[in-house]
Point group: C2
Chain length 359, copies 2
């Protein structure tokens, strides 16, 4: 494993000159993990140069960091940013990038104050995230295995379903089944929303009995560090004509978007494919979010798949495809798979069927 | 509930002039929740002025925001920061604070670029966090109830314990019991660390059978938005002399620190009380973190209770007291309660016994 991270540091280091940088202060914990293997989440700065790197962390992570990474480590008592500034001073670099999207202004300011006069902080963004977009074969296997676990957990949890069950109880069963199947935890707060509550795309489960009708479940797991993400909308009791029509519309939109995924396609063309189907059903105004997002070490990564996103998909990207419609007072329907982009299309990693399920 | 948040907005608004601000852009999601009741977690800016406030969010949160807050709402398509800049332009304020500790540099820059020339962004910090430190009676009840649930969940989970159980399995039982008891989720990744693995203060549960010997469990729940936090170190099988001595040392340190808590005491005096006991046992060098932290809407809030922290404790603060010792190759012991500061001392909110437990 250590070789993998070493190779990544090499690749990232080689990009520095392209970004007009002599060094990069990697502070985003997922980027640090990607480049070093270190999974600490409270104290980490990786000082990356072309051909070398140094991980700074604090005494709580002394043993753990040595177990997890082969990158040179400095255990720091006191503020990490001061130690980072000193390390920069020692190597005498000038143009030092920092991760502008995740570095709080106050940290930037403190760093800037502590830095030797020679060095100059430059906002940099997406250098490591850009590399992380394309998953290698091992990462794809980890995401596949996370998706498999997630789908198993859904089936296990649905087996516990009883009519008087609360939304919160079903959510607890889902998370438990997922942990029992080997997840380190949920990738986000599990959504279980029944009836009109499903009209909230980010609904939180309530301590309320699941009603007959719409039941929307959005769930994801972390397994070996990698995320999965899936939404299914099922129907408790027999579904009526209106729900069936709506469900067909969302499913067709989802399939059309999946169909549009391929190496070289723009993300907005994938989004448009979903939106076009919903437009034909006169439902596009109820599709109030984007079609999907990348995932990996984080549940939301690059690329974003929305109306105005111009990224070109590339083989190895792992993304979600999740169109949905939301009608206040009625409810919502969302159908979501995790897929991986391939040369000629994509492979769906979520094994759960998307057929309308009444139970 | 809405009145409570309205009163908080009033209190926060009244502090602006003291901080030399005409308005504050509240972006930290916990601060936004505290001031508005809105629990959305992906898109929120609260523009706070003395006597008025405006919540900006995106279409996904349209229905939810109207359900949760009585604060005026603006649903924004496109970047929130641009809408915030426009709103600032409309009200013609000059000195606009932003939350420097949680605003990423890139967001600050984008805001700064979008802002009318008249307005001037100023780093501000801790205005809302300062208010959040002191819990009102309702908040203390919520934390108490979160602690009660957390302790119940530990007992339930320990009842499932069997000799061949994996660390990850026990962690899953803990989280499940916690959810079944009404938690919305864990307050952090549950730690279950047995044997030498307990030497990592932030150990992640492994898919390894729990060995005879040390078993350290650090767990917390969110219930109705509020966190609890507890650590217990138990012993699987009969404990030997060395463990007993170590346990006594940590327990005495914990009790000494709890004893030092009172309205008006400095946080470092509480930390010192724990460290002094461990010093007498010649174990202080193995106590590698601080004694505790505030908690509430977040699992880590102000104040920090460490060697150099000079905050004066005040009645209504909810904090953890959690000294620990860590010896590589041997293991670790940590004992942690959640307590609330009172006029004359503190009240321990964690009902679980701290007697040495062998099972």
């Amino acid at each position: 494993m250590a070789e993998r991270e070493e190779a990544r540091r090499k690749r990232a280091g080689a990009l520095l000159s392209e970004h007009k940088l002599d060094a990069l202060l990697v502070t985003n914990l997922h980027n640090v993990r990607y480049l070093s293997g270190f999974t600490g989440s409270n104290a980490q700065i990786l000082l990356l140069r072309d051909g070398s790197a140094r991980l700074l962390t604090d005494p709580r992570y002394d043993a753990q960091s040595r177990q997890e990474t082969n990158c040179p480590i400095e255990i720091v008592k006191g503020p990490l940013f001061k130690a980072a500034a000193k390390a920069i001073g020692r190597v005498k670099v000038r143009r030092v990038g920092f991760e502008a999207a995740s570095t709080p202004w106050a940290t930037w300011k403190a760093l800037d104050n502590a830095l030797p006069a020679r060095a100059d902080l430059r906002a940099s963004d997406g250098l490591v995230e850009g590399l992380r977009q394309i998953k290698d074969a091992t990462e794809i296997e980890l995401i596949r295995s996370s998706c498999a676990l997630n789908s198993q957990a859904l089936e296990k949890a649905l087996m516990c379903f009883r009519p008087s069950m609360l939304e919160t109880e079903l959510a607890a069963e889902i998370d438990y089944a997922s942990r029992r199947a080997g997840a380190s935890g949920p990738a986000f707060d599990t959504i279980v929303a029944s009836g009109a509550h499903a009209a909230l795309p980010h609904a939180q489960p309530r301590a309320k009995a699941i009603q007959k009708g719409i039941l929307l479940i959005d769930m994801g797991a972390f397994r070996s560090g990698y995320a999965s993400d899936m939404t299914r909308t099922v129907h408790s009791g027999p579904a009526g004509v209106r729900f069936r029509r709506m469900y067909r519309a969302v499913l067709e939109a989802q399939l059309a978007a999946v169909d549009a995924v391929r190496d070289g396609a723009t993300t907005k063309s994938v989004d448009r494919a979903a939106r076009r189907v919903l437009h034909a059903y006169d439902l596009d105004e109820h599709f109030t979010h984007s079609t999907g997002h990348g995932l990996g070490l984080e549940i939301h990564e690059r690329p974003r798949i929305g109306k105005t996103d111009k990224t070109r998909l590339a083989a190895g990207m792992a993304i979600t495809i999740e169109p949905g419609i939301y009608l206040e007072g009625w409810g919502g329907i969302r159908i979501e798979d995790t897929v991986v982009v391939t040369r000629n299309g994509c492979e769906i990693l979520t094994p759960t069927s998307k057929e309308l399920r009444e139970f």
